[in-house]
């Protein structure tokens, strides 16, 4: 039997397959399709402190092998999440990771402080790609200084491990990743969506009400893969690769490039059973290649 478990240092996962925030609801939506206990873990939809309305529709547009979304982080807030959703998720034997959002650094810290008092959460994923109201809508992920500041603030009080989820919309991803590490982040999630747009030619108007959105899906895989490889060369903390993964082969590409685990996003909409299939694919690959532990392939790219 192949050992698919991976040790992130701060968290041991039964396999490297997680789900990406915003593409797996609060987990419960997927129980008709996926046995949540089989997953390495799952990341729930981004949470602000208060409930959030999100953007007006249209919020989605399909592009070549991709999806642009401008959901605007609609969500139920920490209180309702803790009261209504958490009790339903507690009995699953898998790592529950909460994606934490904030309009300023203090909100991130407040969300974590509130959730620290709740049971059943394995780690926090800091979504530092949220527009920041106090910085003209710029998100913390866009500079090493702001990345460091928010990670440092949250890490000071959090009782749980922090995974910082970076934005790919930067010139030098390595310096941002290093800033997150410097701030005390336990891991790096790489990456969020690419800022994008689509135009309706008949109406000469943007296809999204928000004009811009984030591109995800198979179209972005080669772009994020490059970043994972570059960051893996420089940081010591584990990396979770995210972007366009639809198959075991995609997951393996990320792991060979240096990711210790991966998250599946948009593919959950196309085939809600994707995560289960990827776990099977990984098992088959390892067996065929005579690999005893999947950890043996992490960061083994030969250049």
């Amino acid at each position: 039997m192949t050992d698919l478990s991976v040790d992130l240092g701060f968290l041991r996962l039964k396999n490297p397959v997680l789900t990406a925030s915003g593409t797996f609801g609060y987990g419960v939506e997927f129980t008709p399709f996926v046995d949540l206990n089989k997953l390495g873990g799952f990341v729930v939809k981004g949470l602000y402190f208060h409930p959030r309305l999100g953007n007006p529709p249209p919020r989605l547009v399909e592009t070549a092998s991709g999806l642009i979304n401008a959901i605007g982080l609609q969500g139920i807030g920490v209180k309702r999440f803790s009261e209504e959703i958490l009790p339903r998720l507690k009995n699953y034997e898998t790592a529950l990771i909460v994606n934490v959002c904030g309009e300023d650094d203090e909100e991130y810290a407040a969300v974590v402080e509130y959730l620290d008092k709740q049971d059943g959460i394995a780690a926090y994923e800091l979504n530092i790609s949220c527009p920041n109201t106090k910085r003209d809508g710029r998100c913390p992920a866009l500079s090493p200084e702001t990345t460091y500041a928010v990670v440092d603030l949250v890490k000071k009080t959090s009782v749980r491990p922090i995974i910082t989820k970076l934005s790919p919309n930067v010139t030098d991803i390595v310096e941002i990743a290093l800033a997150a590490q410097e701030g005390g982040s336990d891991g790096i999630a790489l990456a969020n969506t690419y800022l994008a747009m689509a135009v309706d030619v008949e109406k000469r108007s943007p296809k999204l009400a928000n004009v811009f959105g984030g591109l995800s899906g198979p179209a972005i895989k080669p772009l994020t893969l490059r970043m994972v490889f570059q960051v893996a060369q420089k940081v010591q903390i584990p990396i979770i690769g995210i972007g366009g993964i639809v198959s075991g082969n995609d997951a393996l590409e990320y792991m060979i490039a240096g990711a210790s685990a991966i998250e599946v996003g948009t593919a959950n909409f196309v085939d809600p059973e994707t995560t289960t299939k990827i776990i099977q694919d990984l098992e088959i690959h390892c067996r065929k290649a005579g690999i005893q532990s999947i950890e043996q392939i992490i960061g083994t790219l030969k250049v």
Binding site: E29, P32, G54, R59, Q74, V270
Partner: protein
């Protein structure tokens, strides 16, 4: 709700760019209610990526029919499938029309515009089984847009037809045909599916005449089962500020819940 990755297509019929596909899906057929939909994957490849929402058109024993218009890449690919091919679907999804026993013995109006007729055939059958008296209004741009008229006629449904260009039936919009008929017909409830402007007009008529009404809405959908928050619309509810998911709370809504686009302006 479940996934049926290989539902075998057992029959197919086309009229221009309209297509009717029948496929075997036992569990789905057992659960399906009129107004519910499926998410169908147009192809196994990664482009086009997303599934397409399509209403359940009819249920026969262990099979389901869908009826759709080929308007873009996804529906064109679905229309290229043949008998013997397989469909990858998820369903039944969403909440359908309300079929309560109080409709027994009542006259109801069922109004479909173009491909909007899709969920209404299933509804008309269930209405009849319930002991209600459905009268169908079916309109399209031209005679080519109302190919299902014969099917309704052969099954002895009371049906009124319209075309915008007058190539068949009443000349004008189906909304005008409906409005005119209200001089001699007073339905207990109205069920509608079609283009947004048509539904908005029917909603206006229903409101003016104080007739209860239900509409099947469309929205661009990422998942179809409540996980992406992509399909939202603002509804008239207690908590007015919240965006509601069409795929989960709908796609069928009561007329008085819906805020029509022109009202928002």
């Amino acid at each position: 709700m479940h996934k049926e990755p290989k539902a075998p297509i057992i029959h197919k019929k086309t009229w221009g760019d309209y297509c009717l596909l029948g496929f075997q899906a036992e569990r789905l057929a057992a659960e399906a209610q009129p107004g519910q939909f499926i998410m169908a994957r147009p192809s196994d490849s990664l482009h086009p990526l997303l599934r397409r929402p399509i209403s359940i058109h009819s249920v026969l024993d262990d099979s389901i029919e869908i009826y759709f218009q080929q308007t873009g890449i996804g529906t064109t690919l679905l229309g290229q499938k043949e008998k013997g091919d397989f469909l990858d679907i998820i369903g039944p999804l969403g909440k359908g029309f309300h079929l309560e026993s109080s409709l027994q013995g009542k006259s109801v109006a069922i109004i479909g515009g173009g491909r909007g007729i899709a969920p209404l055939y299933f509804l008309a059958h269930r209405m009849r089984n319930l002991g209600a008296f459905p009268r169908i209004y079916y309109g399209g741009r031209t005679i080519n847009d109302i190919p299902l008229r014969q099917k309704f006629e052969e099954e002895d449904f009371e049906i009124l037809l319209s075309t915008d260009d007058g190539s068949f039936g009443f000349k004008g919009l189906v909304t005008a045909l409906f409005q005119k008929s209200l001089q001699e017909f007073s339905p207990f409830r109205i069920f509608t599916c079609g283009p947004e402007a048509m539904m908005a007009k029917i909603a206006q008529i229903a409101h003016d005449k104080d007739i209860s009404s239900e509409f099947s809405l469309e929205a661009i959908m990422g998942c179809g089962f409540g996980a992406c928050w992509g399909c939202v619309r603002k509804l008239r509810k207690e908590n007015e500020e919240e965006w509601s998911k069409i795929c989960e709370e709908g796609p069928v809504f009561q007329g008085d819940q819906i805020i029509w686009e022109k009202e928002e302006l």
